[in-house]
Point group: C2
């Protein structure tokens, strides 16, 4: 391929949001549904979600978390139990008001049988799960209680973007209750660590862990911990969150336990979740102008084998050779799963297949023609390299070397994303610098690390003036000796400002 | 335990529905949610669903089925596309009419931002998936298309019963499109076979496969295939269905393809599904008056080890012995999974633990005290036998023998269920016999095999008069030479009449 021609138009540089939409189309991951704001997750996209689920689910279970399932619909009176919570979700609720349809005079269906109390489709499940916890927890012996649910969630969205913001999305929400504040807080931080490790080691996305500011906190939480990543347009994406609720939700749902000393106390709760948004992040961090690039450890298939059948007579022999190669590779264990290999035997020209598989982003492509077969050398085209540069490995060595080659692809992806983020993160110590960056660079995103000490009113003003928010107060930073850029108060925290999705 | 005292009150004989509700409580599988008609699937119950999912999902994928995800909400105009379909589901639809909540004058939340077109929560997804198929399918090369979705589904229910009938339930729905009628019909029948094999070989539930009569067919289908089981009260439960749609839904959703001959044709479609109802079936077929009995092949844990710690000094040694036993057993492969073992180390008296685990129905209980440890004999209490009769196996032989002992439990459960069904199935050849059975035995259920040839009006009359329906027209029966019990028409089919859930 020439360097000019790319599979995806527009390119990332020309129009990043346009590129994102197009890359999802050519890689067959997802599409807009006929229902406003909702998406169809196509088989290629859903397969990635299945891998993410299986890895996280094992990690959760190893921490003693058990899966369960709670109702989709939540009575309004439940939502009203926690004041900030209702404030946070009321404006984006899908409300069920009727339970029957009948034909009207014009033959069209109209809703009938109105509900006495309307129900909303869960935007999150703290209140409905809280009602169960209140029943299930009697004494300290029942604690900690650690429950997770894999489910669909709905937050009505006026400006949908596939995977990033849709009215309905798939998610996992963990909810735990503990006897002490310290234990609950540790739980939330442990989950943050688990998620951030997953993002870095599996999705190959470097993340910044930290705490949300007052203005960005989950409605009803004491602390919201977050991990944030930089997309290739320099904007931030919140990858997931873990919340320490204190006793706010325990009081709202009456989750009490009898302590060892025989005293009735409120439990301390947490909740934590990630969603199908992670798939969008992966696309926006790693994709290039030829399509998606899947990190090997979460790719549903790590390798695609394409037989190049030139002459009629070739076919059978080459196909058998490819089949054997596939079987051999599938016996290799890679990060807890057997390698998964596609043998692309579709009735298409080999060149067409190559391009199609490049767009879909499988980490390694193997093209086998008569010559490759004869010479016993296997050409590996790494998706992270130029299309025509193959890495040749002898057939004998392939099984031995393949895992480390895949891990190389994985670490190259991570390193590239990290260096991009570092190149686009600036330390700012005056308000003038801050204004210059966010006023001038309307489309070029940056992470700006700056000292801040203010309240949520100030945060809202900054958002209004510059279109940026505090993404987080990063953990593990040395204490700041600066005063706040805006309020000039001393002992400000270093925070990250950025435009975000 | 004495023979009189049972863990569950009422017993099955005293009050079967009361027993069913109570057995779900003591085994901690599920409970009613605060939302009318909905359930909370507790961790013990959800773990069974996870096993069912993992087994079925592998089987589906081996047939070339791919998972995907489609929107929860369906526009009314979609539902209206297929006349029988809308008829079938309109009266039990949860309708979303608003997308925002605001505080009214009294401070209470009221729904605002009405939708132009109301949306219903999917009762099934033929129409919304059909819209995607219409986009995705262009030519015969795209066929067959085989898609499955694991999801929640809602059909508003006025008389909910946990797992059997709830407004919301979890399910799997497969949807396929084919170039020919024959291929589609075969697909539906292949799925019926897959399901029935799963029910018999994993759930240990003998089922009768067959076709639904006109009155019981899925709204919009040409043929509905079903597999039906008998519960311990003699009533029938429809375990799942597979539908051949002909071109009905292809026409409604405009699913056309270009044939090999270059002609545009409508595809032939199928859909097929099973739900969390399978868990209810398992409980109602195998449970006894001491609780649930889980068939080993779908039990989340096959074995519970209970350390009997009598004297203070015992504890450490016995616990270590039990831990080692657990590890050894976990290395055994059983039906594609490693055995899963619970070591019950709760702070409870051993006797309490035994009873608790009996109620929960794990196939084998191992109780280890100082004597058992010293003698090196492992007492296995099979959940299918009396509580006090242990089967002793030497420690050395345990690993070798455990799989076949579990398989014995599995086949005992199946055999018992089959002989119960056979004992409660009667062949009837006159209307008088039929009336006598269903008039007299108000509570005692029966499967009545009888010749029938009539339409859905007659089916409705029979249902009104006797409270029974045609469960299915069984496959694999010799042709009947009888005339219909009711219409006296010749060449009637043998059908199964029964009361049902």
């Amino acid at each position: 391929m020439s360097n000019e021609k790319t599979a995806v138009t527009p390119t990332r540089k020309e129009d990043f949001p346009g590129w994102y939409q197009e890359v999802l189309t050519v890689s067959d991951l997802a599409e807009h549904a006929p229902v406003r704001g909702c998406m169809v997750i196509k088989p290629n996209g859903y397969a990635i979600w299945e891998v993410i689920q299986s890895i996280l689910d094992k990690k959760f279970k190893s921490l003693g978390v058990k899966n369960a399932y709670f109702p989709l619909l939540i009575p309004l009176s439940f939502l009203e139990k926690e004041a900030e919570h209702v404030e946070g979700f009321a404006k984006e609720s899908a409300v069920v008001t009727h339970t029957r349809l009948e034909k009207g005079a014009d033959g069209k269906l109209i809703p009938t049988s109105p509900l006495e109390e309307p129900l909303i489709i869960r935007p999150t499940s703290e209140t409905i799960i809280g009602a169960s916890f209140a029943k299930w927890i009697e004494s300290y012996r029942d604690l900690p209680m650690k429950i997770n649910q894999w489910c669909n969630v709905m937050r009505w969205e006026m400006r949908p973007r596939l995977f990033l913001r849709t009215s309905e999305f798939l998610s996992q929400e963990g909810h735990t209750a503990h006897a002490s504040k310290e234990e609950a807080q540790k739980m939330a931080l442990d989950m943050l660590k688990l998620y951030a490790d997953f993002a870095e080691n599996y999705l190959a996305i470097p993340v910044i862990r930290g705490e949300k500011s007052e203005g960005e906190r989950f409605p009803g939480a004491m602390n919201t911990y977050t991990f944030e990543a930089m997309m290739q347009d320099g904007k931030a994406l919140q990858m997931g969150t873990a919340h320490f609720m204190g006793t706010n939700f325990a009081k709202a749902s009456d989750i009490q336990f009898l302590s060892k000393d025989g005293v009735r106390e409120y439990a301390h709760t947490t909740s934590w979740g990630v969603t199908t948004r992670m798939i969008g992040a992966m696309v926006m961090v790693h994709g290039d102008d030829n399509g998606v690039i899947l990190p090997p450890r979460v790719a549903p298939h790590q390798i695609v084998i394409i037989p190049f059948l030139m002459k009629e007579g070739d076919s059978c022999e080459i196909m058998n050779y490819c089949l054997k190669l596939k079987e051999e590779l599938e016996s290799v264990q890679y990060w807890g799963r057997g390698l998964s290999i596609i043998l692309d035997d579709r009735e298409l020209r080999a060149g067409e297949k190559s391009w199609d598989q490049i767009k879909k982003g499988y980490p390694i492509r193997i093209e086998i023609g008569a010559r490759e077969m004869k010479e016993g050398k296997i050409p590996l085209f790494l998706r992270t390299k130029e299309k025509k540069e193959a890495l040749y490995v002898s057939k004998e060595e392939l099984k031995l070397k393949i895992s480390s080659i895949l891990d190389q692809v994985q670490s190259d992806l991570y390193a590239k994303a990290l260096s991009y983020r570092e190149a686009n993160t600036v330390l700012v110590s005056t308000q003038e610098e801050f204004e210059e960056i966010f006023r001038k660079e309307v489309n070029a995103g940056r992470f700006v690390l700056a000292p801040f000490k203010g309240d949520k009113t100030l945060e809202a003003e900054i958002q209004k003036d510059f279109g940026v928010t505090i993404r987080c107060i990063p953990h593990n930073l040395p204490p700041s000796c600066h005063s706040c850029l805006f309020t000039k108060q001393s002992n400000a925290s270093q925070v990250i400002f950025a435009k975000s999705y």
